[in-house]
């Protein structure tokens, strides 16, 4: 393990942090049934 600091560009921290379905949908302002279920119109 190369310790301490990043000696190369590859070690730098870029990309994403994974978040789960409820967080994604809440952040998007969605209010679906059970978080991610779209009910057909007659069941809403």
């Amino acid at each position: 393990v190369s310790d301490g600091h990043h000696s190369s560009e590859a070690g730098a921290d870029a990309g994403e942090i994974i978040i789960d379905i409820p967080e994604i949908n809440l952040a998007a302002g969605l209010d679906l049934f059970q978080g991610d279920i779209l009910l057909p119109q007659n069941e809403r």
Partner: protein
């Protein structure tokens, strides 16, 4: 937690459309999820060709689906940040008819819902269903289900959970987004009566005496030995978990003569695609000239499996650890695969050749395999440092590497990321390398591929990926990267996930078997997925219909996995072309009818369409009628003579 009503179930393959508003990466991830269903269940998908019912994958806001087959054509959304394989699997399981695990009727026996911690008006996310509406398919509550929500879902306070397990050990497990759990698959396969899968062919961990139907070669005197682990010779299947347990196959090379061989042959296997990947673990502890050779024995065209092809040779080295191997077979007819052990120099050998945990699937072998040994020791050091893989080459020729940070800046997680490396092909390749999908997989080394829950994440290179200095990451590494003496190459900035996998996840399951962490990496051009959308139910002029059909055909070709399907994949007996209860048999890919036969009648013709009477019955009947007529004439003539 499956819908009881069978009208909501799908017939396979399920038609699908990949909408063009989907991110390119999402399209690739959806196809990966399809492949996982094909590997582990009988669920299959096909490009839409005008069917009434289908799934239209679109990029709407968020990740969501409808539950079950609504028989109308339905949308499934893979929105921003939803393009992960496990999330797509979760949404597809909804579409297949499953609700969330924590909405089972009996969930209060297994989890606690902290109602006061739920965001106001979001309580409906934790409703339960009555067992008259859903069924657990006679399976236990599954904390590991990909359909379970995580502890902090819909919470008011970031550090207080809304759902916890009654057995606290499972608090780290609920909400896992690795892959389908074993019970998810059991339910899916029960619900859809799956008896086989599409791309799984063979698996053997040699734990049972029948060694999975493998046979010892008959043309040589020596055999592989079915050996129990002992001190100094551990198997791979349950390596490190128990002493004196677990079997593997072993060929002792420390006695006898040089060039003696032992051959282990698989049973006969029937391919559906044109490419297979044989994965196994091996170790060679004998002399440096010992060899393990993989052969393919194929149908010679007459139905006999005898046409030999040497595929790959593994040479001994000084590394006596279990190693993972991948061999591409490319069998197109029925075949066996063979392990040939070859003694190099018995006088310099004190060991032999061992093989274990074989898996044969009809999927491509991984492009890059990186093994990090003694990983738990690395995890124990509280360092913020990182490890870089050797340079690998993609099928197109791009050099790339993997960066692993055991302790990422998010406590308790490991960062895994992808970077480009300069390489020998850079002068001819396309730069920047855009629209390439990088797939990183931390392997769960469970011997049974259907039980593996590997962590796989993907992204697709885009012009939006820029370094802090505003340079495009995917430009030539010799200009965008920094020189690294360890590979004598330039490495670019890595792009990945700070919370790729948690330390607790890695310590569970078989991620660290033998204390080895194994990471697979892929880097493929997916530009061909840019235009995949086809119109629904075209009602157009014949010119436009032709145009649409041509586009559908192209989309179908583009969106199917790269591997070719063999022509006999389509069952000629489905639907059964035989009439009058004839039994259909596939002979060389063509339907052949076996017609029913009764005591008096039998059916003939290509489709059993003609009814005939058995010859003896006909003879008896005709003879009887003729005899009766003759007798009647004789009697009438005798009676007439008496009257005269």
């Amino acid at each position: 937690n499956a819908l009881r009503n069978e009208t909501y179930r799908w017939k396979f393959p399920i038609p699908y459309i990949l909408g063009d508003n989907l991110d390119l990466n999402a399209k690739g991830v959806i196809l990966q999820a399809f492949e996982m269903f094909r590997l582990k269940s009988c669920v299959d998908f096909k490009p839409y060709e005008g069917e009434e019912t289908y799934i239209f994958f679109k990029k709407e806001i968020g990740c969501w689906s409808m539950v079950g087959n609504l028989q109308t054509g339905q949308t499934l959304s893979i929105g921003e940040r939803c393009d992960y394989r496990a999330i797509v699997e979760h949404e597809i399981l909804h579409a297949l008819g499953f609700y969330h695990e924590q909405s089972r009727m009996d969930r209060d026996d297994y989890v606690t819902i902290w109602w006061d911690q739920i965001i106001t008006d979001k309580e409906h996310n934790f409703v339960k269903y009555d067992d008259g509406y859903i069924t657990d398919l006679n399976t236990p509550y599954d904390y590991e289900s990909v359909m379970h929500y995580a502890p902090f879902s819909f919470n008011k306070n970031a550090s207080i959970p809304t759902i916890t397990a009654k057995i606290p050990e499972f608090d780290d497990i609920i909400g896992q987004r690795l892959d389908l759990s074993a019970i998810d698959l059991e339910r899916l396969n029960r619900m859809y009566n799956c008896t086989s899968t599409h791309t799984f062919l063979d698996h053997c961990s040699f734990e049972s005496e029948n060694i999975c139907g493998m046979i010892q070669g008959t043309r040589n005197d020596l055999d592989w030995v079915h050996q129990l682990s002992a001190t100094g010779q551990q198997d791979h299947t349950i390596s490190g978990r128990c002493r004196d347990a677990g079997y593997f196959m072993y060929f002792n090379t420390s006695s006898g003569q040089a060039d003696e061989v032992a051959v282990l042959e698989s049973r006969i296997l029937y391919p559906k695609r044109t490419q297979q990947c044989l994965q196994f673990f091996y170790k060679i502890t004998g002399s440096l000239s010992d060899k393990l050779i993989i052969w393919l024995k194929e149908d010679d065209g007459t139905g006999n499996v005898r046409k030999m092809r040497k595929i790959q040779t593994f040479q001994a080295d000084n590394d006596h650890n279990w190693k993972i191997a991948h061999v591409t077979l490319s069998a197109q007819k029925k075949f066996r695969y063979l392990f040939q052990g070859l003694k190099g120099n018995p006088s310099s050998s004190s060991g032999g050749i061992a093989i274990d945990d074989i898996t044969l699937t009809e999927t491509p072998c991984p492009t890059a395999v990186w093994v990090i040994r003694n990983f738990s020791q690395i995890l124990e050091k509280p360092t913020s440092g990182f490890i870089e893989s050797p340079r690998f080459y993609s099928p197109e020729g791009y050099g790339f590497g993997i960066t692993l940070q055991p302790h990422s800046r998010i406590s308790g997680y490991t960062r895994v990321a992808f970077h480009l490396c300069s390489g020998e092909n850079d002068g001819v390749l396309e730069w920047p390398a855009l629209n390439r999908q990088a797939v990183l997989t931390v392997l769960d080394q469970d011997p049974d591929v259907s039980k593996r829950m590997s962590s796989s994440k993907s992204f697709t290179t885009s012009k939006d990926h820029v370094s802090p200095g505003k340079t495009l990451i995917w430009d030539k590494p010799s200009t965008a990267g920094i020189f690294d003496a360890s590979c004598n190459c330039y490495r670019s900035l890595s792009w990945g996930w700070t919370n790729f996998i948690s330390h607790s996840q890695m310590r569970r399951r078989s991620f660290l078997k033998n204390d080895d962490l194994i990471i697979f990496a892929e880097f493929h051009d997916i530009t061909h997925l840019n235009y995949t959308e086809v119109p629904v139910k075209p009602q157009q002029s014949s010119f436009m219909e032709d145009l649409t059909l041509e586009r559908q055909k192209r989309a179908a070709q583009d969106t199917e996995p790269i591997q070719d399907q063999l022509p006999y994949l389509q069952d000629p007996c489905d639907p059964n072309p035989c009439q009058n209860d004839g039994i259909c048999v596939s002979v060389k890919g063509r339907a052949s009818c076996r017609c029913p036969s009764g005591q008096a009648f039998f059916f003939t013709g290509e489709r059993c369409q003609s009814m005939q009477i058995h010859g003896n019955i006909l003879g008896i009947t005709v003879g009887g009628i003729a005899g009766t007529i003759v007798l009647t004439i004789v009697l009438i003539s005798m009676m007439a003579g008496r009257q005269r």
